[in-house]
């Protein structure tokens, strides 16, 4: 791994953790906690993306230990983002947003068993409340848990993909060309 890619990992992980300040300002029910993972993957490939996801989870765990079991989700997100980058799905919002919605489904499918088995579907207040809503609608326990995860992940991942697409297109070509996957991800190479 080159020094530039090594330097990218902590920056991308810190982006994931610092974006909460922007989310708080607009009061939207979003996490954007996989932004750095997706961005690092789109810029530098799956190895850097996975490392970013693991570092993000590790540092998040120091603030709240309940984040660590979800490191698997970060790895799945990095692999999915790599497939999306290879296919050039970051070339426009028209391709990125559906890809993000697809990731929302996969992320909630991945996080549901962890949330159900480890935390009894109580990972955050919002997920607990939507899970309770799912139970009130007559869904079985695992189905209600998936409903809770799905509601929180579906829109979040679409917005994250759209944001990463904006960043990739806003990067000067000279800067983008320094990262091995950036131009291919936006369909320019």
């Amino acid at each position: 791994m080159s020094i530039r890619l090594l330097a990218l990992i902590p920056v991308a992980a810190a982006i994931s953790l610092a974006l909460s300040a922007a989310v708080d300002a607009v009061a939207l029910p979003l996490f954007l906690d996989t932004t750095g993972t997706i961005l690092a993957t789109a810029l530098a490939g799956p190895g850097v993306g996975i490392a970013t996801g693991v570092v993000t989870s590790a540092v998040n765990t120091l603030r709240n230990p309940t984040f660590w079991p979800f490191v698997v989700v970060q790895i799945i997100v990095a692999l999915y983002a790599w497939v999306a980058a290879r296919a050039g799905l970051f070339r426009s919002f028209r391709t990125a947003v559906p890809a993000g919605l697809g990731l929302g489904v996969i992320a909630s499918l991945t996080s549901t068993p962890i949330s159900y088995l480890v935390f009894g579907c109580t990972t955050t207040g919002g997920i607990a409340l939507t899970t309770a809503l799912g139970k009130a609608l007559g869904l079985p326990p695992l189905g209600a848990c998936f409903f809770g995860s799905f509601v929180s992940d579906f829109g979040d991942k679409a917005v994250t993909f759209a944001l990463v697409t904006s960043v990739l297109h806003a990067l000067p070509r000279r800067t983008a060309a320094r990262f091995p996957w950036a131009l291919r991800a936006i369909g320019a190479a």
Partner: protein
């Protein structure tokens, strides 16, 4: 120093990992209760403010949400496991000095790059958060309104997030240059300046914790009435 501060960093990590693992593996609620008691005891040994209070405050909402979603026996079983996990990590964070961990990792032959990743991320997060707050204030001064419908809020989010992410990415080259001048080439081995002592008894204790987890796991698969 109280609460395990003199222990080798790997021993601290082993204890913090073994307690939640055993809380999940051992039969509920007695196994979870025993592990939660030990973990809360360790957290309390660091004092009320840095240890016990954050552990209790972090675990409390989970009990509330569990009661909302489950019956009382399930709430107690899962709640004790989550409490063990939270309390043992709070104890770990209050006890483990990052510099000692880095020295221990380097002494054990780990790449200096891994130690850099954790340390650099921890130092970059507060810097980027402060920058995000400045960008929010600057954009508000320019008339950006973070209120209104979802579309307006998403546009506002883009105006806030884009400068933050782009400015962070522009720093990557500076950081790479700084690393290169300090000789942090990936894969290079460093000599630790003051490696923490790792007595044989602590090494044996770490193996014992691993074996205890494996034995509890094996017993759980053999005895079907385990939860």
């Amino acid at each position: 120093m109280t609460g395990g501060g003199r222990l080798h960093p790997f021993t601290l990590l082993a204890i913090a990992a073994a307690l939640p693992a055993l809380a999940w593996i051992l039969p509920a609620p007695s196994g979870g209760l025993a592990m939660a008691t030990i973990a809360l005891g360790l957290a309390a040994s660091r004092g009320l403010r840095p240890g016990l209070r954050p552990a209790v405050l972090t675990a409390a909402p989970f009990w509330l949400f569990l009661l909302l979603l489950h019956d009382v026996p399930t709430t107690i079983a899962i709640g004790l496991r989550i409490t063990t996990m939270v309390a043992s990590f709070v104890w770990l964070v209050a006890t483990l000095e990052p510099a000692r961990l880095v020295e221990a990792m380097i002494a054990a032959g780990w790449s200096a790059s891994i130690a850099y990743l954790l340390a650099a991320t921890l130092s970059a997060v507060p810097v980027l958060k402060a920058r995000a707050r400045r960008i929010v204030e600057a954009q508000r001064c320019r008339g950006l309104s973070p209120r209104g419908g979802i579309a307006a809020r998403l546009r506002a989010l883009r105006a806030l997030a884009l400068p933050l992410v782009l400015s962070a990415l522009h720093e990557v080259d500076e950081r790479a240059l700084a690393l290169e001048t300090r000789g942090l080439v990936p894969g290079i081995r460093r000599t630790p300046l003051a490696p923490p002592p790792d007595p044989a008894v602590e090494q044996a204790a770490r193996w014992a914790l691993l074996l205890a987890c494996l034995a509890a796991l094996a017993r759980r698969f053999i005895v079907p009435r385990f939860i």
